[in-house]
């Protein structure tokens, strides 16, 4: 059975790599960099339906990679902070009858299909942000470059965070519950107040679980395609922090949401290679995340709790 799984994984990687080969053939690795007009390049690829010339394959996809890193990075960091604080509250501070209700509710939230978050985002959050939060002055200030419709970085990060935090809370709560209570009681006996005892003893003890939760959440955030496609604004644009608050409202695209947007035109040979290239990059980042998580957990083996 495990051999079969290994074969399937290798088969997927080989398939995606072969389909994306023309992209690497014409660009080397420099398609990961920026500098070109990504929108024009993709339009050229979509229009070139048979035997495209070599110049059509030219691609500089950095705005997509930047968008992916920006949204996933902020969402995971925000989510981790919220998850650790919430879990400590639920397990250590909340009365038992509150935890009994909250933990199943968190598990329920974790199982909601992500497209529902996308629907709420596009039907409620995007119009709200577009009509009530973004000021006319802000819209006018960037109108020559991009339109601020409400769909952009802020809504994407909010929905992504809401989507990945319940899983992290569930994982960390379980880990907190498995730390032997004698450890914390020992710290309290030594004179620490209960909250500091948690910070000094329990949290370091569950570091492997926190890292596992972060890796899981990152993987889910990286792969989130349809939901981000709905709320991210759909423009090959790199939001610039230098723009001030407008930075939060600028539209963007991630690797996964670009795959969703471009999937219909995939019969154009150049576009097919580009889309499979994005997919290959996503595969590699998933593997890299797993490996990093494993490597980071290695020195923490000594904290493995038993029972």
């Amino acid at each position: 059975m495990s051999l079969l799984v290994g074969i399937v994984v290798v088969a997927i990687v080989v398939f995606v790599a072969t389909k994306s080969w023309p992209l690497f053939q014409h660009n080397g690795l420099s398609w990961l960099l920026g500098g070109g007009d990504l929108e024009a390049e993709i339009n050229k690829m979509t229009a070139a339906t048979t035997k495209p010339a070599a110049s059509v394959f030219h691609l500089r996809a950095w705005p997509l990679i930047y968008g992916t890193l920006l949204t996933s990075g902020i969402a995971v960091v925000l989510g981790m902070v919220i998850a650790v604080l919430s879990s400590v509250f639920i397990v250590e501070l909340a009365p038992a009858r509150v935890s009994r209700i909250v933990i199943p509710m968190v598990r329920l939230l974790a199982s909601v299909p992500s497209v529902i978050y996308g629907l709420i985002g596009i039907l409620v959050l995007v119009p709200f942000v577009g009509n009530h939060i973004i000021t006319t002055h802000e819209k006018v200030s960037v109108e020559n470059v991009v339109q601020l419709t409400g769909a952009g970085l802020l809504v994407t990060v909010v929905v992504l965070t809401v989507m990945i935090t319940p899983i992290m809370i569930a994982l960390i709560c379980e880990a907190l519950g498995s730390v032997p209570p004698s450890w914390r009681e020992g710290a309290v006996a030594l004179g620490l107040n209960p909250l500091r005892a948690v910070r000094a003893v329990t949290l370091p003890a569950i570091r492997p679980a926190i890292i596992a939760a972060a890796v899981l959440a990152s993987a889910r955030a990286l792969g989130e395609a349809v939901m981000i496609e709905m709320v991210s604004g759909g423009k090959f644009f790199s939001p610039k922090p230098i723009d001030g608050t407008v930075f939060l409202f600028e539209p963007l695209r991630t690797l996964a949401s670009a795959i969703v947007d471009l999937r219909d035109g995939i019969d154009a040979p150049a576009l097919k290679a580009a889309v499979y290239g994005f997919a290959l990059l996503l595969l590699f980042s998933a593997f890299a995340l797993s490996v990093t998580g494993y490597l980071v957990k290695l020195p923490l083996r000594k904290y493995q709790t038993r029972g």
Binding site: T46, A47, K139, K235
Partner: protein
């Protein structure tokens, strides 16, 4: 044990026969269609009627994706017919274009912004980005920046819109792109400062303010009489000349009264 084994063998045989028999008996032809989201409602209605008239003989699989996607699919053989909402171009050699209906492209704004009329000059200025504010437009109740919605590059309606209503120019690059007509309608419905363009079928669904172009309203009557300037054609496109079931379907659309009735309900018949 013995009885269970006999029972399971019997069930398996029954299952295999149950699956194989209908599969062998059905000799239904399959027509696969993909392409424009603007002609999808019309082609779906026509296909449904056709299946009702020829039960068990024909099956349709209709997807969308945009005009360019449909053309690509027909070129590489993955689909039989493409729904196309734009005129044939030089890149379409080897394909046959069969016109089935005409449609009007309407410029629309949000219901809260009841602009009555826009001249050609105003439409060009707004969509190319030269004019960015509603405050200079007579009849507009909005005063802030104009939010321009357009279609993605694969849309036939966009190509036709540029040719017929935008003097051949391109929409500004900062405009928000929508993948389907339905999404275009939804976005303009939700954005008070929004403006966009879509087929008269979608504009008729309500919830939007349809703008007169050069003093002519955008509806079936003005489009049929030739008064309205933004009338384009829906084509069914095949690789080479249409053959077999596809040819029969297209011929039925062009000649039958039932098809004409469907087309005349929301669109404009050819000729």
């Amino acid at each position: 044990m013995h009885r269970i084994r006999r029972l399971s063998v019997a069930l398996t045989v029954a299952g295999v026969v149950g699956v194989a028999a209908p599969a062998a008996a059905s000799a239904t032809a399959l027509i696969t269609i993909s392409g424009a989201t603007s002609s999808y409602p019309l082609v779906s209605l026509l296909a449904n009627k056709y299946v009702k008239l020829h039960p068990k003989k024909i099956r349709f699989k209709i997807t969308q994706g945009g005009t360019t996607v449909g053309i690509n699919n027909v070129k590489n053989g993955s689909d039989t017919i493409a729904d196309v909402a734009q005129e044939p171009s030089g890149a379409d050699a080897g394909l046959t274009f069969y016109p089935i209906a005409r449609y009007a492209i309407c410029v629309v704004t949000n219901k809260s912004n009841p602009v009555t009329n826009l001249t050609q000059a105003q439409v060009t200025a707004i969509f190319t980005g030269k004019d960015k504010s509603w405050s200079g437009i007579p009849g507009a109740t909005q005063t802030g920046p104009i939010q321009v919605f357009t279609r993605t590059a694969v849309a036939g309606v966009l190509t036709s819109f540029k040719a017929l209503l935008l003097e051949g120019k391109s929409v500004e690059s900062s405009a928000t792109e929508e993948a389907t007509e339905g999404q275009m309608r939804q976005e303009v419905e939700n954005a008070p400062a929004g403006i966009g363009f879509l087929s008269n079928y979608q504009a008729n669904k309500g919830g939007l303010n349809s703008v007169e172009f050069n003093g002519v309203a955008c509806n079936q009557t003005t489009a049929a009489s030739g008064q309205y300037g933004g009338v384009a054609v829906f084509y069914e496109v095949t690789k080479g000349t249409a053959r077999g079931a596809a040819a029969a379907f297209i011929s039925w659309i062009d000649h039958s009264g039932a098809a004409k009735k469907i087309i005349a309900s929301q669109w404009i018949p050819i000729g």
